[in-house]
Every structure is written in structure tokens, then in C-alpha cells.
């Protein structure tokens, strides 16, 4: 089933900067293949910030690495199509791909704390990135670019000579962001860029991202497990559960959730405005990827599940501007479906 919003992938470079069409990825494990990303279709429009939210293990990072063409050994793309700026990374010549990555699409890793080589300085990292794509760049030019980048993420130029262990967590994250912006790529993937940071630093980095995005207009896929954080930043939010996108919300209000899982996520956000903080999570645990439930992957935990949920994978449906994969919204058509059988 194709997402209504996803245009069919073409080589058209003027189309959406990032298109995923029915992408599936699995890891080879000793107990068999584990489906970490399942039939995901997404489109990222020019200048858009799309949030991607899901519990730990729902496949967010795997999706990002798949888009980058950087899956680890043992992971396999089972099917689907990915276009970045109209290019299919999986059919590019390795040398062309090496150069296209970072110029066409770059990524801020989930683990910024470990993304920097402990024996190289900030300057080494930026120079390495520049030289890998332009071996003949002069020291003077590289230095100039570095100063611009440090200025962009508000890091003192004197920090250029610092080693990673001399930087605070927030500074490391800014350096990684600066490195991701070296070539002003049109698409940026950010995998939980602020998870390891305290709230104050988190906020200042998010503001930074907002500013840079407003200035450079790149499209951002912003991954997080924190719904409230993403909501304050993104234009749309996609919700991922057990490798599948279950809802894409265009409106971000609290009452705009349609999928029972999204509703559960929203309830789990603490209400600080009220006198007492209430958190009510979703009972049960995410499924084992080796033994995914049949039908809707959420049905064992869903409070409103019914027969059809256990046998049929729900299609993406347009519901009040959102895209929702839930049988509740096709109930009306249930009879006619039966009639067709």
C-alpha cells in the first residue's frame, strides 16, 4: 500500500529531497532475520523538518543508516526504494557515493559523544571532511571554512585545537553539527541529537538547529523518542512502532492523534501545567522483532483491537489531514471489503 503523500520515486532532482518507498530492512541474527524497518514510506519536502518518533528499538536509527547507505555488516535492505535528491544511493558507483554523501546528505549521529576520533582535534575533523571531498583545498580556504562553521554553531574559534576529551557534551554535539554542515547539504538526518544532554544545553542546541534551518532551508529528518521535544521543532511528525510508520501527523496538537499508539504516547507526556504530574504509559512491551505479531503489530497492546487487527496489516489512510495505519478508520468499509472477498 502506497502512502498517498509519497510521490512515486523518480530521478527528478527537483522533486522532494528525500523519498522512501516501501523500504524494509532486516538484521541477520543467530535466531533468524529480525525485521527492524518494515515497509516504510516517507517523503521529506524541501525545507521541511519531519520528526520521527518511536520507542527505543523501534528502528529509527536503522532507518537513518539505511538512508545513508551505512548499514552495518549483517543488515540487509529487503526491498523498497530510496531517493536522495533524485539519486538512488544503492546503485551509485562507490566513489561517486563516497563523494555524494555529506554533499547531498549528511547525518548527526545518535552518539555524538563517540562520533569524534579521540586522537584528532576539532580542526583535524573538519579538515579531514573538507579534504576527503576536495583534496586540493588550500589550508587558508579550509581554515576559513572552519571558522565559518564554528561561528555557525557558536563555538569559540580557539576550540579548533581542542581534542574531544577537552570538550563538554554540548560542545561535542555542536562540533558534530558543524561537521554535518560542512557542505551545506540539502538533506540532514539528525538521530537523537540531544538525548545525552541536560535540558538547558538541549534547548540551546535545538534553537541552534532552528536558526540554521531557517537560514539554510535544508530538509531535516529529526529523530527522537521525545514526542514533546519533536513537536516544538517539526512541521510534521511520523510515529514509528516496531519498524512501521503508524501515523504521520500534519497537525501537532495534543488532540490530533488518531492512532491508538500515538494517543498512548501523548498520554505519556507529563502534564506540567496541571497541579499534579500525570504520566500514563502504554501497558505491555514492544514486540520481539523475530516474532512480529500478525496483522497490526500493535494489536497485542491496543485497547481497541478487534478481529481484523490480528490478521490484516492496516493500510495508511488519510484521516483529517493525518496519515494513519489503523483499521478503526476503515471500519466503515469493512463490510464492503468482506463483500469483495
Amino acid at each position: 500500500m502506497r502512502t498517498p503523500l509519497a510521490s512515486s520515486p523518480t530521478d527528478n532532482p527537483d522533486g522532494p529531497p528525500l523519498i522512501l518507498d516501501q523500504v524494509s530492512v532486516s538484521f541477520n541474527t543467530s535466531k533468524g532475520p529480525a525485521r527492524a524497518v518494515n515497509d516504510v514510506s516517507l517523503t521529506l519536502a524541501q525545507g521541511e523538518i519531519l520528526g520521527l518518533v518511536g520507542e527505543s528499538g523501534s528502528g529509527k536509527s536503522t532507518l537513518a543508516f539505511t538512508v545513508m547507505g551505512l548499514l552495518p555488516d549483517g543488515a540487509r535492505v529487503d526491498g523498497g526504494q530510496i531517493r536522495v535528491m533524485g539519486k538512488d544511493l544503492y546503485h551509485l558507483d562507490p566513489e561517486v557515493l563516497r563523494d555524494f554523501r555529506w554533499k547531498g546528505i549528511s547525518m548527526v549521529f545518535q552518539s555524538a559523544m563517540n562520533a569524534l576520533n579521540p586522537v584528532l582535534t576539532v580542526q583535524d575533523h573538519i579538515f579531514d571532511t573538507l579534504r576527503s571531498h576536495d583534496p586540493n583545498i588550500t589550508d587558508e580556504k579550509a581554515r576559513q571554512r572552519m571558522l565559518e562553521l564554528l561561528d555557525l554553531v557558536k563555538i569559540d574559534a580557539r576550540r579548533a585545537r581542542s581534542f574531544p576529551h577537552e570538550l563538554s557534551g554540548g560542545m561535542k554535539q555542536r562540533v558534530v553539527l558543524a561537521i554535518a554542515m560542512v557542505f551545506n547539504p540539502p538533506v540532514l538526518l539528525m538521530d537523537e541529537p540531544t538525548t545525552a544532554l541536560d535540558v538547558v544545553v538541549q534547548r540551546s542546541i535545538l534553537n541552534q538547529v532552528r536558526e540554521i534551518q531557517a537560514e539554510r532551508k535544508m530538509a531535516i529528518l529529526f529523530i527522537s523518542h521525545d514526542f514533546s521535544l519533536v513537536r516544538s521543532l517539526a512541521h510534521r511528525v511520523a510515529i514509528m512502532y516496531a519498524g512501521r510508520i503508524v501515523e504521520i501527523t500534519a497537525s501537532l496538537g495534543k488532540s490530533d492523534a488518531h492512532h491508538p499508539y500515538t494517543e498512548g504516547l501523548m498520554r505519556a507526556i507529563p502534564e506540567l501545567s496541571e497541579d499534579e504530574v500525570t504520566i500514563s504509559g502504554i501497558p505491555g512491551n514492544p514486540p520481539d522483532l523475530l516474532h512480529l505479531p500478525t496483522g497490526c503489530p500493535f494489536h497485542p497492546r491496543c485497547p481497541v483491537a478487534f478481529d481484523r487487527c490480528r490478521t490484516e496489516v492496516p493500510p495508511m489512510l488519510q484521516v483529517q489531514g493525518n496519515l494513519v495505519a489503523c483499521h478503526q478508520y476503515s471500519r466503515s468499509g469493512e463490510e464492503s471489503d468482506h463483500g469483495l472477498e
Binding site: 563516497r98 576520533n117 586522537v119 581534542f163
Partner: protein
């Protein structure tokens, strides 16, 4: 610079500690080593002169002066390179005996150890980079095998095969008796020729450990996020392998290098015995057999100094490679 001075200070203090321990141990031993030594000479029918006797007494603390003046005298003697007189090689001094044997050990075991470390590390990097291929499997299997064989067996097999059966290389000794006045390079070639078999045994038995250790570190490092991040940025393979993976993977091995280099002096004992090689290990064996306390003491001191110096050297390299070590303390 502060790192260098810091380490240098530490080196000097450790050397002083080693010297002091070396001074104290014979004084804490039960019995009187001088009597043992005298008995030894008497039984050989070569009684000592009064001068040598006095020197012996000084060295082993039976002199009738205060312990402080003995200590002072000991340090002064050391400063002048005087470690006493060898019993086995009387009238040669311990310093002379060590001077004659140390170069052989350093030349043979030192070179062989450095070759195994460098070659093993290089092959380990290579195997890790090509992990899962036939080259990797081949290298790992062969070196697992060679490092599992006891050293003695390797030595005997090589000697039997290439020395005894094929006569490709000499079985014993460091050099042959050449006619006097022979050109220096002929002598050098002769030494090299003699060093091949014993050197090969050391390399074969040691290289596997370095290879496997480096390969495993390297594979772990290749899984680090900073390597993936670098690959994502387009950093080319060669730089990725050297500056990102190998440079970090080698750090945990450096302590091992220090140990290996430090123990070259004392650790080549087996090689030197099998090949009748006139190095320090051989002298230590002789000293123990003959209860040659001054020589033993001298050799132990040299071994301790070698370990300390090697550690210092490796710490400098560590500081050069790892900014965290440079800054620490």
C-alpha cells in the same frame, strides 16, 4: 613538555628505587654471601687477594662501616660503572662481562622482538581490515598455530631442519672463528648468518600474539562510532584505516610493547641456551650455576634498568599518540 618532565622525574625515581632494592637485597639475605664466595674460590684452588676480598665485603655489606656509608659507596661505584668482580670470570669485572654479552642480546633478541612487534601489528591491521576474507582466516589460523607451539619446540624443529638436516644455517654460536685480518663486512655477514635461526625462532613464537592482539583491537575500533562517522563523511579508506582505526587500536598494545622490549634483556634465556648464544641470558645461567652473586646482581640491575627505560620510551610514544595521556596528571 610538562608531560615529558613529569615522566622523566618518575623514571629517575624508579631507577633510584631499583638501585636501592638492589643494594638492600644481599644485605637482607640470610648467611653471608662473602663466605659462600670465598668457599667457592677455595674449592677451585684460587684464593682471593686482599684487595678483591675487601671489594667483596664492601659489595655485600659485610664491611665494618655504617650502612649509610656503604650505601654512599655503592652509589658512587655505580656512577663509575663499577658493579664488582665476577667470580666465574675472575679477574674480569661484572661490568666487563655485561659489556661483552649485552650487545649480542640486544642485537639478536632486540631486533627479533622489534621485527615481531612491527610485522605482527602491521599484519593484524591488514587482517582486521580484510576481516572475514581468506587472507584473514589464513593469517589468523597460521599464527594461532605458531603461538600455540611451545618455544622450545619451534627452536628444536628449526635447528633440526635448517641446521642439522639441510645445513642452510649454523646450529650454534653467534659467529665462527674466522682467520685474523678478515674484512669487517665478512665478519658482519657471518654474524647475521648466525643470527637467522635464533632470530627466526623468536619472531615465529612471538608474532602470533601481536597479530591476533592487534587484529582484535582493530576490529573493535572499526566498530566505533567515530569510524562510521568518518566513513559517512567520505574519509578515504587509507586515512580511515591508519588515522582513525589503527592509531586508536594500537594504544592498548603499547604497554605490552614496553614489557616485551624491557624483557628482551632477560627474556632471551631459552634462545641463548638452545643456540649457545653468548648473550646476557647465557651469562645469567652461568652466574646462577656458579653462585656468582656479583654477576647475578649486575644482570638483575641491567634487566631492571631495561624494563624502566623501555617503559619510559613507550610512555613518550603513548603521549605522542594519545592526547588524553599527554594531558592527564
Amino acid at each position: 613538555m610538562r608531560f615529558f618532565l613529569n615522566r622523566l622525574g618518575f623514571l629517575l625515581i624508579s631507577i633510584w628505587a631499583a638501585l636501592t632494592v638492589n643494594f638492600l637485597i644481599p644485605r637482607m639475605m640470610p648467611g653471608n654471601p662473602v663466605d659462600a664466595i670465598l668457599a667457592h674460590f677455595q674449592s677451585e684452588g684460587a684464593p682471593l687477594g686482599p684487595n678483591a676480598l675487601h671489594a667483596l665485603e664492601q659489595q655485600f655489606g659485610v664491611a665494618h662501616s655504617s650502612i649509610w656509608s656503604q650505601y654512599w659507596g655503592y652509589l658512587q661505584n655505580l656512577l663509575h660503572g663499577q658493579l664488582g668482580t665476577s667470580i666465574t670470570y675472575y679477574p674480569l669485572t661484572v661490568t666487563q662481562v655485561i659489556e661483552r654479552s649485552l650487545p649480542w642480546t640486544l642485537g639478536l633478541a632486540g631486533t627479533a622482538t622489534i621485527i615481531s612487534v612491527l610485522l605482527g601489528t602491521f599484519l593484524g591491521v591488514y587482517a582486521a581490515w580484510h576481516r572475514g576474507t581468506r587472507i584473514d582466516a589464513g593469517l589468523t589460523t597460521v599464527t594461532m598455530f605458531t603461538s600455540a607451539i611451545p618455544y622450545f619446540w619451534i627452536a628444536l624443529i628449526l635447528v633440526y631442519l635448517f641446521g642439522f638436516e639441510l645445513h642452510w644455517f649454523p646450529q650454534f654460536h653467534a659467529f665462527s672463528t674466522l682467520p685474523p685480518g678478515v674484512a669487517w663486512w665478512k665478519f658482519a655477514l657471518d654474524i647475521l648468518y648466525h643470527a637467522v635461526l635464533p632470530g627466526a625462532t623468536i619472531v615465529i613464537s612471538a608474532i602470533g600474539g601481536w597479530l591476533v592482539g592487534m587484529r582484535n583491537n582493530m576490529i573493535q575500533t572499526l566498530g566505533e562510532d567515530y569510524v562510521t562517522f568518518a566513513r559517512a563523511r567520505g574519509v578515504r579508506n587509507r586515512r580511515l584505516m591508519i588515522a582513525y582505526a589503527a592509531r586508536n587500536a594500537i594504544l592498548p598494545n603499547l604497554t605490552g610493547f614496553a614489557m616485551a622490549i624491557g624483557f628482551v634483556v632477560g627474556g632471551a634465556l631459552l634462545t641463548e641456551i638452545v643456540f649457545s648464544y653468548p648473550g646476557i641470558g647465557m651469562q645469567l645461567l652461568t652466574a646462577v650455576e656458579n653462585e656468582d652473586y656479583p654477576l647475578m646482581q649486575g644482570i638483575f640491575l641491567i634487566i631492571a634498568l631495561a624494563v624502566l627505560l623501555a617503559n619510559f620510551f613507550v610512555e613518550m610514544v603513548y603521549g605522542f599518540l594519545d592526547p588524553r595521556a599527554r594531558q592527564g596528571e
